[in-house]
Every structure is written in C-alpha cells, then in structure tokens.
C-alpha cells in the first residue's frame, strides 16, 4: 500500500524542500526529490547512497547504407529531431521524445534506436529514512524521463514527493503519480498569483490538497483570505524567521528547531484529517 503526497508551489522558493524534508522526518515517510533539474533535498538528509542507476532515453540512428533519404521520418517527427538534407538525414538527439514514430514509417528499415544517458536516479538512507532523487545531466533539456524513472521506483508506504517549481511538464508528471498534494506558498502578491495557478491545476487533475503558508506573518492575511473564499483547506502556517532562513542556508532542517516543531505537528495532523490516512 502506498500513499504519494506531492509538495508543490507554482512559485519557486516558497519552501517546498523546507516543508518536504521536515514533514518526511516527522512522519518517518520516504523522501523523493522530483526536482531533478535542481535537487536540494539530499543536502538536508545527507543520505548514504546505496544504489545508483543511469536514466537513458532512446534516439534514432540512421543506417546510411539502407537510407534512401526519402524524408518520411523527418516528415512524421513532431519534434524537429530529424531533418532531411541533401546528404542524408540529420538527427538532433536532444529534441527526440523517443516516440518511435520515425522507425514505424521507415520503409527501408534504416532506423534503429540506441540509448543515451540523460541523468541518474539515486537511492539511499538517512538513519531509517529512505531517500531517493533524480538528477538531470546539465545540458539536457528534458527532465520528464528522469522524473518518470524515479517515480517508477517508488517504495511502498508514505512517499513525500518534493516537486519542481512551476506548473508544467515536470510538475504534471509528478502529480500523475500523486494521491494528494500540499501547496506551499508565501504571503506575497507573487505567491498568491502562482498559488491560484497551482490550485487550478490540482482541481483539473482532481487531486485533493491543502495549503501551507510559509514565511507567514500575521500582518498579511491575503493567502488565508483567498483560501477561505475558495474553500481550500489550510494545513498550517510556518512563521517567517530570519533565524529559520539562516538555518536553512546551512542545510539544517526546520523541524530540528523547537521554534518550528509545533508547526509541523499541526500540519501533519491536519493533513491526516483531510487525506484520511492512519
């Protein structure tokens, strides 16, 4: 049995990893860093990595002895990964989505596929906590295959999925494997704007969710008012604290300071109530 909870935000820097790592430690769950472009979670867990696997994708290779340069492969490719020139077919590997359409249309069986490495997934333990992450190789444009590989190896039990910022491919790929979500926001005009975009996405995907307001100050209730008006569960708030920011900067978890323990306890309790797990 598994329960996968995505921690996302829309806006970057609101505190996804801050919340994910502390929640994982409190709930003794599994931690999965799905922000494969810029993973930070392992800084806080410092796990001993026990398993490492390359993430590969397929790309087409043209056998020039069989290729008649008819150009059908280039015509069918929706991603401009193949280009017909006078001298042959050029392949742009990094644009290839590995869909296989080109080899289906090739009448001369001139197309085969090779694999190339675009990243890595790693698994380790920090005390008893299972930590996993994906890391996209610098220079690779597409993170989704790394995220998919990572999510294909999820352990049973409660999985906290630390998402990338944004609301597009990377986040959607993670959400498609999620049973529930926690939206981490900050009380600013930008935070509110991007929260609304994330709410739209979660509603479209029909994923139950609640909100955590990080860097909260009771001077500003715009996020809480928005949540109330939209009938959105508020799991809790984490007060802004310069000391908290400094601790974070050093790679320390907020849960380890007494100042924040009760915040995470309240968040976890409210999450249990809404997501209904024991």
């Amino acid at each position: 049995m598994s329960l996968n909870i995505a921690i996302l935000s829309g806006k970057g820097g609101t505190g996804k990893t801050t919340v994910s790592t502390s929640l994982t430690k409190l709930l003794k769950s599994n931690y999965v860093d799905c922000d494969v472009e810029e993973p930070n979670g392992f800084i806080f867990f410092k796990p001993k990595v026990v398993k490492s696997q390359d993430v590969t994708v397929e790309y087409p290779v043209i056998d020039s002895s069989k290729c008649t340069i008819c150009g059908e492969c280039a015509k069918v490719c929706q991603f401009n990964a193949l280009c017909k020139s006078k001298n042959g077919i050029m392949v742009f590997e990094k644009l290839c989505h590995s869909c296989g359409a080109c080899s289906i249309v090739c009448k001369n069986k001139a197309l085969t596929y090779k694999e190339r490495v675009i990243g890595i997934v790693e698994e380790g333990f920090s005390k008893d906590i299972s930590c996993m992450r994906g890391v996209l190789n610098v220079g690779e444009p597409m993170a989704v295959p790394v995220i998919k590989k990572l999510l294909g190896n999820l352990k049973t039990g409660l999985n906290i999925l630390d998402c990338s910022p944004g609301t597009s491919c990377n986040v959607i790929t993670t959400l498609l494997k999620s049973d529930a979500a926690v939206l981490v926001t900050e009380p600013s005009a930008f935070g509110l704007h991007d929260l609304a975009l994330s709410v739209k996405l979660l509603r479209k995907l029909d994923i139950p969710f609640g909100v955590v307001v990080n860097k909260y100050s009771n001077q500003d209730d715009t996020i809480l008012s928005y949540c109330k008006s939209e009938d959105i569960n508020i799991f809790g708030v984490i007060p802004f604290s310069r000391e908290g920011a400094v601790n974070y900067s050093k790679g320390n978890m907020l849960l380890d300071s007494d100042e924040f323990k009760h915040c995470f306890n309240e968040i976890a309790q409210n999450m249990r109530g809404v997501f209904l797990w024991n």
């Binding site: 472009e37 810029e38 359409a101 597009s168 959607i172 975009l197």
Partner: protein, 287 residues
C-alpha cells in the same frame, strides 16, 4: 542587446532584479519568460496591444466512427496515453505514432492551444511607457520551452532599437535554455544558502554550455556571510564577476506587495545595491 536573468534555484529574486534593472535601464522591452509562473507582468499591468493563441504541441484525437478497437494505437504508444481506446490528454505528447499505425485512419493529430501570448503596454511616470511580452499557459499544458521562444520573438517585434530584459525561470531545462540562447548578457541571481550555491553551479554549467559568461548577483547576501564569502571565492577563482551583492531588505517584500519595482523605494538598501550593480553591469556590457 538581450540581457537574461536566471537563477537555478527558485525564489532567489530574479523578478525583483529584472524589474529593477528594467527601471534603471529605462528604455527597454521586458520579456516575462517564467511562463509557468509569470510574475513580472504583475508590476506592469496595462493595455494588451497584442494577443494571440499559441499552440505548443498536438494531441491525438480518435474518430470513433472509423475506429474498430483493434488496439494497435495503444500497443505503439510509448507514453501510456491510450487506454481502452481513449486518449489520456495529460499523457499524450502529440507524437503521432498512433496515427501512423492506425490503418483505418481513425486518429488525427490536432493542434493544441497551450497558451495565450500578450504584448502589454503600460504608461507610467512622465510620458514613459513599458512594453512587456508575456504568456499565460492553459492549465495542465506542456511545452514551456517553445513558449519561451515565442515570448522572446514577440518582444523582438517591438524593440525599435531598444534592448530586451528577460525574466527567466528557475531550473536548468528547456525553458531556461530557451531563455539563454542568443543572449548577450546573463545575470545569475543566487542566494547564500547551500541549496542556492549547488543550484548556481548547475545553471552556471548550462551557461558554459551556451558559451555565455554570466555576471553574478548574490541576493540577500547578509543572511549568511560565510556562504557569501564562499560564493565570492568561487567566482574569483573561476573568473566570474560578482556584479552585485544585495542585502536582505524587508522593503523588497513591501515593494512586491505593492506591485512596484524596488527602485520606487530610493531609501531602500536593496535599491542602492541594485543601482550600484547596474553600473557594474553597464561597465561590463561596454567592454
């Protein structure tokens, strides 16, 4: 001249810095290329002088009048996007493999509207106007990279000899690459945290990949002086110029919540630091 502001890590202050530089540079066109979560335009609301639908990809559509339910499409789909003869929109990458294998021609690829692009003109101050090119993505769509390219293209249509300042997105993937390619100047905004530094190194490697030597801005530098020192040491040892160090300043949040660039608050320490940084950036551009 195209200047792009990126960061690697989210939340370091790209939009704060881009907006400020845009004010200091005065006669520039803005491009809000953080298309997933655009914030720059919030400071520059005005009149939309251009609005277009953008199709970032295609989706497979099955004509059930022709479909005989043979399942060939599902067999060939590499994305698990067809189940029980139905196309699952979110998983469909619009590759067309299903359309190719369907011998009943029951599958077509149709253009999917993934966003609307806008060019917005804002009047402010004494007869000044700001032009900003931006986009609003349809919820749940993909193809951020292509959209970034379109937003930049639209900005270029309005330059009239001016420069462009691009507010980039976090990360190192296609959206960031689409923001970086072809730029003349790049400013990486980082923060003095272990997470920030690690992410900075990765986005720096992307810049090197593109043959761009970026300038560095250490934002909220006083939150961790030893970390700031570490970043500066790295930059010195590797010949990267730290164009500016901006202190943590509560006025920045006040400015954001008033939807104003920080340059409106002349007394703010962050504003002073950014003004000095702009002078350094200009010096480097003119070299």
């Amino acid at each position: 001249m195209e200047l792009v502001v990126i960061s690697g890590k989210g939340g370091t202050g790209k939009t704060t810095i881009s907006a400020a530089l845009s004010e200091l540079a005065e006669d520039v066109v803005n491009a809000d290329c953080d298309v997933d979560a655009p914030n720059l335009y919030l400071m520059y609301k005005g009149e939309n002088i251009e609005q277009e639908n953008f199709c970032g990809g295609k989706k497979a559509v099955i004509d059930y009048n022709l479909c005989i339910g043979c399942g060939m499409c599902e067999k060939h789909c590499k994305f698990d996007a067809i189940k029980h003869n139905k196309v699952i929109d979110y998983k469909c990458e619009g590759c067309g493999a299903c359309a190719v294998v369907c011998y009943k021609n029951a599958i077509k690829l149709i253009d999917e509207k993934t966003a609307e692009t806008y060019v917005t003109k804002t009047n402010y101050g004494d007869n000044k106007t700001k032009v900003i090119s931006r986009a609003e993505m349809e919820v749940g769509t993909e193809g951020s990279g292509k959209l970034v390219t379109e937003v930049r293209k639209n900005a270029k249509k309005h330059i009239e000899g001016r420069s462009i300042i691009i507010d980039g997105s976090p990360g190192i993937g296609c959206a960031v690459m689409a923001s970086l390619t072809g730029c003349d100047v790049c400013v990486i905004v980082t923060e003095p945290t272990i997470s920030g530094f690690e992410d900075f190194l990765r986005v720096l490697a992307v810049c090197e990949h593109f043959g761009i030597k970026p300038l560095v801005c250490i934002n909220k530098f006083d939150l961790n002086l030893s970390m700031t020192e570490e970043i500066e040491k790295f930059c010195n040892e590797n010949n990267f110029i730290v164009a500016g160090k901006v202190p943590f300043d509560e006025t920045v949040m006040k400015a954001i919540n008033n939807l104003k660039p920080i340059t409106y608050y002349k007394e703010s320490p962050a504003c002073t630091a950014i003004i000095n940084m702009w002078l350094t950036i200009k010096k480097e551009i003119n070299k």
